[in-house]
Amino acid sequence: MLDFLQAVSDGVLFGTTYALIGIGFTLVFGVMHKLNLAYAATSIGGAYAGLLIFQVWAGAPAWAVFFCAFLGGGVLGWVVYVTCFHFIPLSNPLAPLMATVGMLLLIDEVIVHATAGMPQNYPAMFDDVMLRAGEFTLRGDLLLVGGVSVLCMIVLLALLYRTRLGLATRAVSQQPVAAQLCGIRVGQVNAMTFVITGLLGGIAGALIGASVGALSPLLTAPLTVKGLIVTVIGGLGSIPGAILAGLLVGGFENLFQLYRGVTERDLYVMLLLFAFLVFRPGGLLGPKGGHD
């Protein structure tokens, strides 16, 4: 019972990072009805960019690294928008998808080149703090990860529902032509969406690096797959859905690892996705029949 609770709590706290990645995918899909397969790479790339601060400030504290990752992610998000979505006409749905795959490969390779393929240590905050209740422990750094993720989600939801930019974004996602007729510049809104998701992604990457302890370009592929699974389980286009699904996938993943070991864990996560696709294709909080 204790193992079960421990696994679930660790998993749910780590799952908040999956939720952030899922939010990034789902936001781009909701606004542009396209998938940005380079998103996890943007996230990890932003995290690496955070490490660049050590070049200018040798003893930088962890929060400075996180902030630098935040900014790096935003820049990378904008770059992905310009190279993959800005110039390709909307009538070709497959071309941007392929272009994002190209960017995924490019970002991965730039990281490998810059770091000579060696995993880089990532600073963590509160990693020596352990809250205990008998035999049950809550890692302090995971609590921070959870806390920062929740904060980011609140800020994002406030941005979307309480600001003019958020209003414009929602307008473009619902009716792009009508939004243009109202004077909203669709290109700018799309670019801002990518920048915002990039900022989120940078934080997510930094948090993942902090909780794992090291960053490696090999993280990109599994993170892309898990992020997409979270997005679909939550319902494409639904941010609260992505949040819930992230926590769900994080918790279940740790449970599967506890009961069946690490080699079979991902297989069961896939089966979880298929169960959702068969019984509830719209995801947790999407429309019942599913999106197009």
Binding site: A95, H113, G290
Partner: protein, 287 residues
Amino acid sequence: MDFYYGLAQTVGVHTLLGLSAYIVLLTGQVTLAQAGFFAIGAYTAGMLTVLAGWHLVPAIGAGALTGAATACAVGFPALRVKGLMLVVATLAFGEGVRLFFFNFDYQVAKGEIKVGPVGGEGFRQIRFFQENGWTTGEVMLFIWAFVILVMAALWWFDRSRYGAVLRAVGEDEVAAQSVGVNLTAVKVSAMTVGGAVAGIGGALYAHYTTHIEHANFNVLLATFAIAYPIVGGLSNVFGTLAAVIFVQAFLIEGLRDLGDWRNLLFGALIVLAMNLRPQGLFGGRRA
């Protein structure tokens, strides 16, 4: 000369992989599962020639059949999801197949040694070509015989009513339904044919590389599978062939001289290709 035969073998097998994705893409379904069917064909054919002592040609047939059967089974639930959710579902399926083979152990003792797939280590000693004295050139011709057969079959499909129905479903499902096209039959049949072609490709792949493991059939291979028809254009099968030659021969081998920069240029060139010619090399209206 052996190097060029080897390159031609790779181009041939990747063309089969690309063609398997091509036929499904014609119906408008973006599928990242082709690497999974490729893996199933590879392991099935490998196990039949190594563990059961079959000749290669029936083993390839069995690989195609298992690929087709799995694709048919995947095709039905795939109908419940559309568009980009299908991308994720097929990606998850492909990863699921890879993870299945990661955990799959089936060894049989032959003489003193044990042969067969061993989970993470993979499946070694698929030595049908070596044991029967085939030269590299003969293997290349054998592979290309299958490629030409499949290309001819798909070219013929394209020219027939079936091809027109596939493209109609790809362009506009509602319009196709309104003229009486059975969407389920068309989409599932396209998936099945794609699975069969991928199975053939996988069977050939297993035999010319002699050692397969789960990591060969990862997400990257699945994205290569759809990259070939997208970069080549969906107007005809030669587009896929041109894209395979472009990627394998030009980008991967030709840029080898650039050493480390090769991998950087690969991603960058794909992004550039999609921006400059989004409809693909051979894309656009058919003549």
